[in-house]
């Protein structure tokens, strides 16, 4: 009769463990060999943006170069917290982090970003000047415009002053998570500037007192516009295009005070495991086909000058020559320095 008891000697156990470790090491090596470019972990927002990154960059441009691109999906607050938490590690999790221009500045200010080696990104020669940062590369951009429903707002607004006006009462909608841009727009409407948001506070308080609706997210605003609970608000033009596509009856107006830029881009954390791969990805991000696809699919403008956008799309998402002159970049240093104070005012005084 066979003895099926588990009888493992120390020597046999050591041999087995060694063999297993060897197999595991081979296993770990095998995919890297198959993907000669290696693996890139990309921190990004989820939803459409992540899908479009995969559709327009990862699959058509990176896979042929034998790179495996993995998305580390999360909101930007969580991903920024992760960058900070991993700052002391010699090897972080992500090779790239998708952030807004203000957040890229903030992360660089905290000493967490690798200086971009533009010599490794040949396509960067076509980058628009505002999209080129020493610590990050702009991917797409849009501008803050006014959205209004002509049925509810019969006199078309032309400026931030027209839109952030107490006369609209509860038909004015304000997005909570857009507090920075709302304060900035109110400042521009009230004689302030990109380095002085203070003058806008009084205007915002007057709007709030008149019954302006504060909605928690961009999506909640889209729903409120659709339901006609809100008739006027300020938002990225790209989002307006998406909402128009979804059936919201809204028109857009480029404010005469200036059109604050919203730039979304990518930084490489200092402790990124695959820095070379990250530079390769950034280069592919700027390929015209990828940029043109993003304009069409998402309504954001390309960050490179050599992309060809069909005239119909350009009309929908872009800015004419006169409007382009009014595009204004933010003062990221001012924003980073005062953000905590702005948020505190917003929560404690404005929202009450």
């Amino acid at each position: 009769m066979n003895d099926y008891r588990l009888n493992i000697s120390r020597r046999r156990w050591m041999k087995s463990a060694g063999a297993l470790a060897g197999v595991a090491a081979m296993g770990g090596w095998a995919p890297a060999h198959a993907q000669s470019g290696g693996r890139i972990v990309l921190g990004t927002w989820g939803g459409d943006y992540s899908k479009l990154l995969a559709k327009n960059i990862d699959t058509p441009l990176m896979t042929p170069k034998k790179y495996e691109v993995v998305h580390d999906i999360g909101g930007d607050p969580e991903r920024r917290a992760k960058m900070r938490a991993e700052a002391r590690l010699p090897r972080g999790t992500d090779d790239l982090q998708g952030l807004s221009a203000a957040q890229m500045f903030e992360m660089n200010d905290a000493g967490l970003c690798l200086p971009i080696e533009y010599s490794k990104i040949p396509n960067a020669q076509y980058l628009l000047p505002q999209m080129r940062y020493p610590y990050g590369v702009g991917h797409i951009y849009s501008g803050k415009v006014i959205l209004y429903n002509p049925k509810l707002i019969t006199t078309p607004p032309t400026s931030f002053a027209d839109s952030l006006d107490p006369k609209h009462g509860s038909k004015l909608g304000i997005i909570d998570i857009q507090y920075q841009f709302t304060m900035m727009a109110a400042a521009l409407a009230s004689g302030g500037s990109m380095t002085n948001y203070e003058p806008g506070k009084e205007r915002l308080m007057a709007c709030r007192k008149a019954g302006a609706k504060i909605l928690p997210t961009n999506e909640a605003m889209a729903q409120a516009l659709q339901n006609e609970e809100v008739g006027i608000c300020i938002m990225w033009k790209a989002r307006a295009v998406q909402w128009q596509k979804a059936g919201a009856k809204v028109e857009t107006v480029a404010p005469k005070e200036g059109i604050p830029l919203y730039i979304s881009g990518f930084v490489i954390p200092k402790n990124a495991p695959n820095k070379d791969g990250a530079h390769v990805w950034l280069n592919e991000m700027l390929v015209t086909s990828a940029q043109e696809a993003f304009a069409e699919d998402m309504g954001y403008n390309p960050s490179v000058g050599n992309a060809t956008i069909p005239p119909a799309t350009e009309k929908r998402i872009g800015f004419n020559a006169d409007e382009r002159k009014r595009l204004i970049d933010l003062d990221y240093a001012y924003l980073a320095k005062n953000d905590a104070a702005f948020k505190e005012w917003w929560d404690k005084t404005f929202k009450g």
Binding site: G75, P77, E78, R80, A81, R84, E106, D109, A110, G111, D176, I214, L215, P216, N227, E229, A336, K337, D339, A340, K343, D347, K348, K351, G352
Partner: protein
Amino acid sequence: MTAAALPSARTNAPGWTAAAMLSPATIVVTIGIVIPIVILFRYSLNQFTPAKVMVDAFTLENYVKFFTDPYYVAVLLRTIRVAAVCTAICIVLGFPMAYVLARTRSRFKNLLLLIVILPLFVGNAVRAAGWMVLFGNRGFVNAVLLWLGLIHEPLQIMYTEFAVVTGIVAVNLPFVVLTLQAVLEGIGRPLEEAALGLGAAPLRMFRHVLLPLAMPGVIAATILSFILAMNAYATPVLLGGPTFHMMGPTVYDQFMGLTNWPFGAALAFVLMTATLLLTVTSNWLAHRRYRR
């Protein structure tokens, strides 16, 4: 000698067994809770600078900021009020439900229990999303009220304390019912019958027999519900909206929105301490009241 050693071995064996049984959980709790709490407390004594998030320091300024700022004190008081109201509603609604579940001899008892547990199969955020559909200006509740002609303008239900309390009660109720039901199952029905047989009215029997005997369960359910409500996050965010602030979302905002880790850590500690103090005090008072 062997005979003399045996009792001693028997005495020690349960001790070792208990230690062995407790060790894994103790290790998990130490690594997963105690160490992070110690780190968090250390963070709460640091200073915030926007660029570096925090600078090593030993200062109480974050706690001073909390207790001297009426805004944050109001957030804490609101959180305590909501937690207390939700807990009271859960106990009042949950007790009869738990009693029926404990006393029923129906063959559908397991099905009834499953119905109570069923909401726990769905995450808080998903449940809150369901309430959003009901409570929206164009939601089910307003649509029905408008259709019945009871109102002419949609009621503002979303982003109110009512919506938050309703959402939290829905989350906590199954926990309360299950806790109470387990205790009520252990109280013999003959005790109730004896009281009723001796002429006590049902309410009197409840006050003098059932409730005192069920008090350990009521206290446990109260503690559970209160702690869950104090630390609620998804429900206040989704149903309370941007203007209704409770402590859980405020802690998150400080950590993630403002990257003010020292103040966020201080807020977390204030929340934890307030929850602990209120729970221990209410537990002590209840025990004192019903010890007789």
